[in-house]
Subunit: 578 residues, 2 copies
């Protein structure tokens, strides 16, 4: 007889018993006084009194006065940038989170299937369960040729053979609606295996959303209650997010109050080191949802079993016999104060503090060699002839990451166009860092960032293999780009005296290896302070810069061969007349 059954029958001692708490039964919705017995990393059973399975070797966790819930499942994690997961994992666990549906947007754009392999290795090495999606970015060709060839496509599809890979990752609707997508084979392979396609449906509605629903099964881009309902009616599971990218809890609460919790999950969509320290992880998401009106039991359902069911994690999300022993003791259900966390039966958090990690992980050498470009001053130059009546096409930064197409009048000198800080016009450059990128690059103009002098560069460009540089003078921009390359990726600011702050993110060019989240947060704060000191005055200066090339948010972005007109799905040049 399997040990789990012997314990369930009360005939053998458990490894661990969580005693005295009230348990949230996510299927029935009841909250009941129960002891929970764990053996071999698995929930054996709940007991009204687990005394029969407490042996001399049994670890007893006193949950008296607390509430016991399943480990939270982040329905949309982005823990593949800023800082490596082996470093942030203790904080993720301390946020009551034991499973990540992990997007590989940053590492995957650059390393494709090799990124999946590393995150599956992390799943093996960390007590956290990592359930990655296959990153499709190498296959996208809406604005530039796809990076992956047939072999690369096959390698991505092959990732689906691993049971832990739950589908294909974040897919902007603009890549797949109304056109054949280079990722079509991947999506078909996903659905044939009964796995899931994660959408990015920002701004899609009506016929476009219906067309998107033929591809995507889940979407986290809901900024209003009506958007939640429209997705549900198109068969799309919804993730309400609260994290670095956005706070959409109000949208979810609005929909929840109208139709209840079915079809809705919760997720972070990425949490920066600073926010991780300040707010927490999934505990913060649930706390916000409850604060704003979601019944606590429903919030737990949205943060556990709903996501597990959508992604077919059939041993997760419920505290029942045979399920993984991922379990959280909260001091209080309403405030989601995490006291104790068991992950796969292992005690990983006590009194709200991680008992384990941070860890190390051996990335392949190639992960430290990801900035394949030769800084060339010419890339930052724009010939005066590009202007028509002195005007060029430009990106106007609006708010909340949105941009609009505009025209600006750059300064002219030496037969070239330059930034005009007095008119809030800067230069923005993207240079491809992919080995196949052949140093492609484009320099355009942006209005509204507020930068007054110097430059800032980052290799953490969203969904693209580029290094993005914003600046007012070409020399500073070149210095910043050169330093990013030297560091193997990262953030660099340059002011009148040269490099001001340089923060390396050498792992895949997108993650720092600093050991503590505190240090990463401090380093980020320093970068942000430096960027502000250059005059940048938008709301979220770093993310705004990272998104300058992000095709997931309208209307106009940088791409390697010009401006990407996101909704028109074409590449535009500098001339306003083209």
């Amino acid at each position: 007889m399997e040990p789990v059954q012997r314990v369930a029958l009360g005939e053998a001692p458990a490894d661990t018993v969580v005693r005295g708490g009230r348990v949230v039964q996510v299927l029935s919705g009841a909250v009941e006084r129960r002891d929970v017995a764990v053996v071999d990393g698995t929930i054996a059973a709940q007991f009204e009194d687990a005394t029969p399975v407490v042996g001399p070797e049994t670890t007893v966790v006193d949950a008296t006065g607390g509430v016991v819930v399943p480990g939270f499942v982040d329905a949309h994690a982005h823990m593949d940038h800023d800082q490596t997961l082996e470093r942030t994992a203790p904080h993720v666990l301390a946020g009551g989170t034991t499973t990540l549906i992990e997007e590989l947007t940053f590492t995957g754009a650059n390393f494709g299937a090799r990124a999946v392999a590393e995150f599956l290795a992390l799943d093996d090495e960390l007590p956290l369960d990592v359930r990655p999606t296959v990153p499709p970015q190498e296959l996208f060709e809406a604005f530039e040729p796809a990076h992956a060839d047939g072999e690369g496509r096959a390698a991505l599809i092959d990732c689906l053979e691993d049971d832990r890979v739950v589908g294909a990752g974040e897919t902007g609707w603009i890549y797949v609606v109304g056109r054949d997508s280079g990722a079509g084979d991947l999506y078909r392979a996903v659905r044939e295996r009964g796995k899931r396609v994660v959408g990015h449906g920002a701004g899609a509605s009506g016929r476009k959303l219906a067309a998107f629903a033929t591809v995507a099964t889940i979407d986290h881009e809901v900024i209003a209650g009506d958007e939640v309902l429209e997705r549900l009616e198109n068969g799309i599971h919804v993730v309400g997010r609260f994290g670095t990218t956005r706070d959409d809890i109000d949208a979810v609460v609005d929909a929840y109050e109208r139709v209840g919790p079915a079809g809705i999950s919760l997720g972070t969509d990425g949490v920066s080191p600073g926010l991780l320290l300040e707010e927490g992880y999934m505990d913060a998401v649930l706390r916000e949802a409850i604060d704003r009106g979601v019944d606590p039991v429903d919030a737990v359902r949205m943060g556990t079993v709903h996501t597990a069911e959508h992604f077919g994690l059939d041993r997760k999300g419920v505290l029942a016999p045979g399920y993984d022993a991922d379990l959280v003791v909260l001091d209080d259900l309403e405030t989601v104060d995490v006291d104790t966390v068991l992950a796969g039966g292992e005690m990983v958090v006590t009194d709200g503090t991680p008992d384990v990690g941070p860890w190390s992980h051996d990335y392949p050498v190639s992960f430290y060699d990801s900035i394949h470009l030769t800084p060339d001053p010419a890339v930052f130059e724009v010939e005066a002839g590009a202007a028509v009546d002195g005007e060029v096409r430009a990106i106007r930064y609006e708010r909340e990451l949105a941009t609009a197409e505009t025209t600006v009048e750059p300064a002219v000198g030496n037969g070239h166009l330059h930034a005009r800080p007095d008119a809030n016009v800067a230069k923005a450059t993207i240079v491809d860092r992919h080995p196949d990128g052949e140093g492609r690059g484009f320099t355009g103009f942006v209005e509204g960032f507020g930068i007054e002098h110097g430059a800032v560069a980052t290799s953490l460009s969203v969904e693209r293999t580029g290094v993005v540089v914003l600046g007012t003078d070409e020399g500073a921009m070149e210095t910043a780009l050169r330093r990013v390359k030297e560091m193997g990726g990262g953030w660099v600011t340059v002011d009148g005296d040269g490099v001001d702050v340089a923060f390396p993110t050498p792992v895949a060019g997108v993650c720092t290896e600093v050991e503590t989240v505190r240090e990463a947060a401090d380093r980020y704060e320093a970068v942000e302070a430096s960027v502000r000191s250059l005059g940048v005055d938008i709301d979220r200066p770093l993310f705004g810069l990272q998104c300058l090339c992000h095709p997931g948010v309208p209307a106009i972005r940088l791409t390697f061969s010009g401006y990407a007109d996101i909704l028109g799905r074409e590449v535009l040049g500098l001339s306003p007349e083209e």
Copy 2:
């Protein structure tokens, strides 16, 4: 671009448009005026007005005044006995049912993996989607040696490689709780593949139910609201059933009123030809649920998406883009009057009447040769020495299929024990018809069936490979058994004049091939009338007889080597002292 997307975008004509109805949105719970467009067997999208996708070749279904719901999914079907599925399928479809989670308890006990193959072939041939579970009966060894050897076990496990096989089938808790089961490898293989184990948890509660939950994921044996809740709290999905076996709708309604619809599905647990004509199929189940207090939208959810989600049928149960075009138009949502059914986009029911079928299916020759026994008069004989003080152990038929252990005083003659109709004591025999059964058989006594003369025999024994014979005299019993063998299976009654009714079920020994459900129902009615004419006076005489060997219902049953003490899991002899 895939056709489904072109139609979703409103840019290409649909094959079929269902216009003018109100659509039940099972994820949001809304009921809204929508047209539904179908192409290539798939839902393309819902439209407020589908005019743009109605072309000259488009079939338009007028649903004005009606309600459009997803095709029903029977969460626990038993359509592998009584009559072949290719004959009953038109009525199943007319009951709004487009998908069966199909148990193979009858065909599978005798044909194992070969039964799965036939039902997958039926899935190919019929517009109905058949999603079988692997029948574990060949592996059970609680009372008798398992029929399957290593090769047979491997063949069963191999069935799981087909995506349409959703798990392993009905598994009595007595086989797996508190002991190692011969089917353990099968269940582990099921769970490794993320598939489901269908339980049969009749009477399990407390520690036993928790232990059962380490194996089973879903259970349809709930006869009270508290049993529903206890299953949910053990992570077991619940099926509320209404069919030939039982009516448990009150249990489900009781639980539903306390905790809502989550975790609950609806199913039939088998519908006889007579009930199929009289009540319908899943339409009847939903109708009963709504009649007794389930909100109609919740009833639809329980009859569609809940089941699809549990079994990972990720393209079923929702009327959304990319889902299978399984769709029902109801004249009225409250009464669940089926008007039109589309199955995989094909129109199969119009004005409540099937447009298609019945079909034929070529079963292998072996399916017509399944009664492997040589009728031997000795099997019906019981030596007088078996009694102690004139008494022998016996089965007392109580009610609702339940039995209790008792002792009776049989008649004595010629050194043998005989039935005593005056004391409501009959003989009951089971003879193995499996090719490996070597003619094993056992004759015991039953009290309470009411039989006064003659005999009745059937090869439709529940979960066992036996022919069951009930009678008051050994000659009649032998005649009945002999005739069952001659027919290749079926029902036979014998009265004073010899065979009264003989109804062959030659397909696997458990299904008639008569073409119409009407004829099958009439034939069954004739069998039942004949059985009644013998004096049998229990509630459901045929099912009661079939269950005389059914290990899924306590307390004492026939097995090939004695009485099966179901809860004690041992085989008992005739002597009350053993």
